[in-house]
């Protein structure tokens, strides 16, 4: 079971049943997760691909999409930020 957090506009596009999910056997890495989201929520996946999306794994920014996920992980998807 992993926890998915969709921030900002992604939060409005994400289906509610995606907040806590048991990933299928073939979904091992962040890259696999992105591909899986493409099937589960195509509109959301397209929106994420079309903008500067940052990934945060357990509260740390990640760039390496080959990172392997384990049960209990929290993965957040961040659209462009607008502070100030």
């Amino acid at each position: 079971m992993v926890r998915l957090v969709f921030l900002g506009k992604f939060g409005e596009m994400a289906p509610a049943d995606l907040s806590e999910v048991t990933l299928p056997g073939g979904v091992r890495t962040l890259s696999d997760l992105q591909a899986w989201l493409g099937e589960k929520a195509p509109l959301l996946a397209r929106a994420m691909a079309a903008t500067r999306t940052r990934l945060v794994l357990n509260q740390e920014v990640v760039h390496d999409l080959s990172r392997v996920l384990v049960s209990g992980d929290e993965i957040a998807f961040l659209p462009p930020m607008s502070g100030g």
Binding site: Q59, M81, S82
Partner: protein, 156 residues
């Protein structure tokens, strides 16, 4: 150094006064306060909503402030950022720097704001009579952010 993410309205003047109260080791206080406007690009704004990513937002802003503090040798820096629903006229953000001289304090505040615009994990939604829209950084915000990374930026 203080970073506070708060959900209630605050008084920027009172916060700035409290920040430098009792300090006799600094020669300058520079503050910037950003407010919610009642119109943006000609469209009326009824309210703003700022979302955070609990825990991560404060951690990231703290990291940015630490980086700027190191670069500009400011004795102290303060960032207060609102989240939640903000009405026109209310303060959104207060950035304050204490400096031994004015130049470093001015530059620290400017560079901090340049970073916050694009790198603070906050998401802004504007609501007006014609509906709601997510606000994203403008091209000039990204350009300023890129400029802020250069070592010569803010060289005093």
């Amino acid at each position: 150094m203080q970073v506070r993410i708060i959900a209630e309205a605050f008084d920027p003047q009172a916060e700035a006064a409290a920040f430098c109260a009792g300090r006799d080791d600094t020669g300058a206080l520079v503050t910037f306060c950003g407010y919610c406007r009642s119109a943006n690009k000609g469209a009326a704004v009824a309210e703003l909503r700022l979302d955070q990513y609990e825990g991560f937002t404060e951690k990231e802003i703290t990291r940015i402030v630490q980086e700027v503090a190191g670069r500009f040798s400011c004795p102290d820096l303060l960032v207060i950022h609102r989240v939640g629903v903000i009405k026109p006229g209310e303060a959104i953000v207060l950035v304050a720097a204490l400096g031994t001289h004015r130049a470093n304090a001015f530059e620290a505040v400017k560079i901090l704001m340049d970073y916050l615009k694009t790198d603070a994990p906050l998401w802004k939604k504007e609501t007006g009579p014609s509906g709601a829209r997510w606000v994203e950084p403008r091209a000039e915000d990204y350009a300023r952010r890129q400029q802020a990374d250069k070592p010569e930026a803010g060289a005093a």
